[in-house]
Amino acid sequence: MKDTPLSNCERDFLLKAIEEKKRLDGRQTYDYRKIKITFGTDYGCCFVDLGQTRVMAQVSCELVAPKESRPNEGIMFFNLELSPMASPAFEQGRQSELSVKLNRQLERCLRNSKCIDTESLCVVSGEKVWQIRVDVHTLNNDGNLMDAASIAAISALCHFRRPDVGIQGESVTVYSPEERDPIPLSIYHMPISVSFAFFQQGTYLLVDPCEREERVMDGLLMIAMNKHREICSIQSSGGIMLLKEQ
């Protein structure tokens, strides 16, 4: 189903309000919405509420054969699903542009920054490694899915416990949670992404756009950082920006 188009008067109203440094929900330009993180009963299940945007992440693991080029490293697989539950514009058949964009950004933010120690996921080098799969589902879209998804993914990864393995010679036994306590993943750092929306060719800038603001924005800049003041990923999309806007 196609999205209802934004009317011109609504667009003008939003742009004028931004020029006067006012936002629809009364926030300041650098304010975030209220973030609430809840964990489910399973290990690795996490719900994140960013204002009205609601996202769920689930981590699961299984033993697979590793890639030929990296025989002693585990595999991380990310998948972000835009379900029609989140917004009438999202359709069931995926691969829309937005879904590809968000998926790639999430992958680059978490996988390329090497926040998880993949070598510790190796069980038998060249034969069996753990494949960690992170599935993120969007439950309600009120803007800024990227930040909510990154928070959900990293919280779920921290919460997740994988089953313990024992190796006796050639055979590998996977212990169930009753036999031995499951062990957490080794996480080096937690990258969190922050989104900035630009309006009027870069003159105005807002943090954490809600859905209406996302529709009128010119461009979006996503920066992922961790608490050691390291930047994990930068991605800009949309119109032109000037240098000093960093």
Partner: protein, 245 residues
């Protein structure tokens, strides 16, 4: 990767370049006769071919036509023989779609689309040999192709990938440097106004180094723009000589 020194003490890289040196750029415009615009660009060992069709009437869904601007449609693909291991899926996988989206975004910012309402411009880019800096080479090739097609643009779009090793920024990364876990930043720039059309960075980089890296990227892009300018002027000279006879 231990044992592979990306920057020696004397300041030389794997292929003998200095830290801020770009690879050799060779380009030709007007390679295909029947396309509206085409260009072939080599940057070191990375070779890309760009072809432009347009502006023409919207094909496919008329409803997607914008009433005041042209729609830019990009497709990025890699030849199966372009990488060391044969690629099984040249287009349709996520990385290619992401690249196509980035190219589309870059050119929407640079091309004056308001002059062609309700029409469509197609940009097809193919990588023939991939040795690092895929995105930058595609952008540079596509810029030349757009100029060859005669579509008005605000400025040349030049792109470059820079990396950061041992406190020094390296300009124009090759494949070995990119896969060595170096933090890399890809930047597409409109040189005259200093406006950034797209910036994309992977891997960890300390916040303080960001400024130096962006500065290095902008200088590298300005170098690329000089080379592209030369190519365009030379092509025009040749074309005018031919048409005079």
């Amino acid at each position: 990767m231990a044992g592979l020194e990306l920057l020696t003490d004397q300041g030389y890289r794997l292929d003998g370049r200095k830290a801020t040196e770009l690879r050799k750029v060779q380009a030709r415009m007007g390679v295909f006769a029947q396309a509206d615009g085409s260009a072939y660009l080599e940057q070191g060992n990375t070779k890309a071919l760009a072809v432009i069709y347009g502006p023409h009437e919207m094909r496919g869904s008329r409803s997607r036509a914008l009433h005041d601007r042209a729609v830019i449609n990009c497709q990025y693909s890699m030849a199966t023989f372009s990488t060391a291991e044969r690629k099984r899926r040249p287009h349709g996988d996520r990385k290619s779609t992401e690249m196509s989206l980035h190219l589309k975004q870059t050119f929407e910012a640079a091309v004056m689309t308001q002059l062609f309402p309700r029409s469509q411009i197609d940009i097809y880019v193919k990588i023939l040999q991939s040795d690092g800096g895929n995105y930058s080479v595609c952008v540079n090739a596509a810029t030349l192709a757009v100029i060859d097609a005669g579509i008005p643009m605000r400025d040349y779009v030049c792109a470059c990938t820079v990396g950061f090793v041992d406190e020094t920024p390296l300009a124009d990364l090759c494949y070995a440097e990119e896969s060595g876990g170096v933090s890399s930043l890809a930047l597409a720039l409109l040189p005259r106004g200093g406006q950034i059309a797209l910036v994309q960075m992977d891997a960890r980089l300390h916040q303080d180094h960001l400024e130096t890296l962006i500065e290095a990227a902008m200088t590298a892009c300005k170098g690329v723009s000089k080379v592209l300018d030369e190519v365009v002027r030379q092509h025009l000279q040749e074309a005018s000589v031919l048409s005079r006879e």
